[in-house]
């Protein structure tokens, strides 16, 4: 009987070794997997500058100014005494809309989303208005646009004092 017990114990021990082995193996795989996953996210990347100086407020006429569109992806829109920096990335799928001066609207070529001059969407599949970037004046009185800070209309952020400058 003692012989039998020992054998059973041995078998039990054997299985517990297998369990430990499998757990260790799975853990090692998961660890390597998550390291590989983390590896796909670089720590540093070399993308364009996120802020730029956009001249003096007096340089802008009423309406949409496209001079920073190609370099920085920003429209300067002056309307009702406010100057705002409007993102040129369509909120639908990230295409770049075109400003159609004749129809006073931004129209996205990819899926036809349309936005008023204020950036509010009114046609096509865009789910929400264009985003505005932080805009402020530096000590020289020049405009500074900071694209790292975003103001979204549907969150009620367009009243935020950083989202426009009064002119």
């Amino acid at each position: 009987m003692s012989e039998e017990t020992r054998q059973q114990l041995n078998r039990r021990e054997f299985f517990s070794f297998i369990t430990v082995g499998w757990v260790a193996f799975t853990a090692a795989l998961a660890g390597l997997g998550s390291l590989a996953f983390r590896f796909t996210y670089p720590n540093v990347n070399f993308e364009p500058e996120m802020d730029f100086v956009a001249g003096f407020p007096t340089e802008y006429e009423n309406g949409v100014d496209e001079r920073w569109k190609n370099g920085f992806g920003v429209w300067m829109v002056k309307q009702e005494g406010k100057l705002v920096a409007l993102s040129n990335i369509c909120t639908h799928l990230g295409c770049v809309p075109n400003w159609l001066p004749a129809e006073l609207k931004f129209k996205c070529p990819c899926h036809g989303s349309g936005y008023y001059m204020s950036g509010i969407n009114f046609e096509g599949p865009a789910p929400r208005p264009l985003e505005r970037y932080k805009i402020s004046l530096n000590s020289d009185g020049k405009i500074v646009v900071d694209k790292t800070k975003i103001f979204r209309y549907e969150m009620g952020q367009w009243d935020h004092p950083d989202s426009y400058i009064g002119v």
Binding site: Y41, P42, E47, L93, G94
Partner: protein, 260 residues
């Protein structure tokens, strides 16, 4: 020995006999030997049902898909001799492929072949559905086929970026922005707005699935390199492995389908 032609003499040389260890396949024994003894032909069974030979039944679309995949591998390898996946060179290298390289249709064959492969994969699936060939015992192999279909589309899609022209960059921008909308995993998708603790945004444009795909927030040079690796190495390896599984299971599940 009179009356023997040149071909017969070639067949009797030691070199020929060392390569083909059987006589010409005009009797049962040799027809079996030619299929079983050749590593490429032994994908096939030695005999098969007549319906499996008829183009009217198989449309040959699966076989053609594999053939085009091989053709794309060869032309793709040749293209790699001249192509550098950087924003500075990529576009000029594509032009060079047209103008500075003999046989300037290599890129055309590769591109149209890629389209043709998508077409043949779809039509293969269409045929398999129409003949009910996904039914037991072939359920699993249908699943492998669906994954291969998705991978074919991904192969084609990752290759679309490489010419680095307007068509490429905007097709990939539109395509990858869908990844942005993945629920919970993309910063522009449902759920991302909920995953926010105070000011700390858990899913942002710097750590979502789109960033992983593009190695950046925009389609830029890191994305080009990443798509190049996916297109030339990673996805073809996976596809090759799954093709082996697919073919193996065609044989193990009873060959080309036929009425039970």
């Amino acid at each position: 020995m009179s009356g023997k032609g040149f071909a017969d003499k070639v067949r009797e040389t030691q070199v020929w006999k060392s390569i083909f260890r059987h006589g010409p396949p005009n009797n049962a024994r040799n027809r079996a030997a030619v299929i079983a003894g050749n590593v490429f032909l032994h994908l096939h069974p030695i005999k098969l049902k007549k319906s499996g030979v008829q183009l009217g039944y198989t449309w040959c679309m699966g076989g053609l898909t594999f053939f085009i995949f091989l053709a794309l591998t060869v032309t793709g390898l040749l293209l790699m001799f001249y192509y550098r996946p950087t924003a500075e060179y990529a576009y000029n290298d594509i032009i060079a492929l047209k103008e500075h390289v003999p046989l300037g249709i290599m890129r055309e064959i590769h591109r149209w072949g890629a389209h043709a492969m998508v077409i043949t994969v779809w039509l293969h699936m269409f045929r398999v559905f129409m003949t009910g060939s996904y039914k037991p015992p072939r359920e699993f192999n249908w699943g492998v086929g669906v994954i291969l279909l998705v991978l074919t589309l991904l192969l084609s899609f990752t290759g679309y970026l490489l010419p680095w022209d307007q068509l490429a960059i905007w097709a990939i921008t539109v395509g990858s922005n869908m990844a942005k909308a993945t629920p919970f995993l993309g910063h522009g998708g449902p759920g991302a707005a909920l995953a926010q603790i105070g000011d700390f945004v858990m899913v942002s444009d710097k750590n979502d699935v789109r960033f992983q795909l593009l190695a950046g927030r925009f389609v830029g040079e890191p994305a080009l390199l990443r798509f190049y690796i996916l297109h030339c190495v990673f996805i073809p390896l996976v596809v090759g492995t799954l093709i082996a599984v697919h073919f193996w299971r065609v044989r193990k599940d009873g060959g080309i389908s036929a009425p039970l």
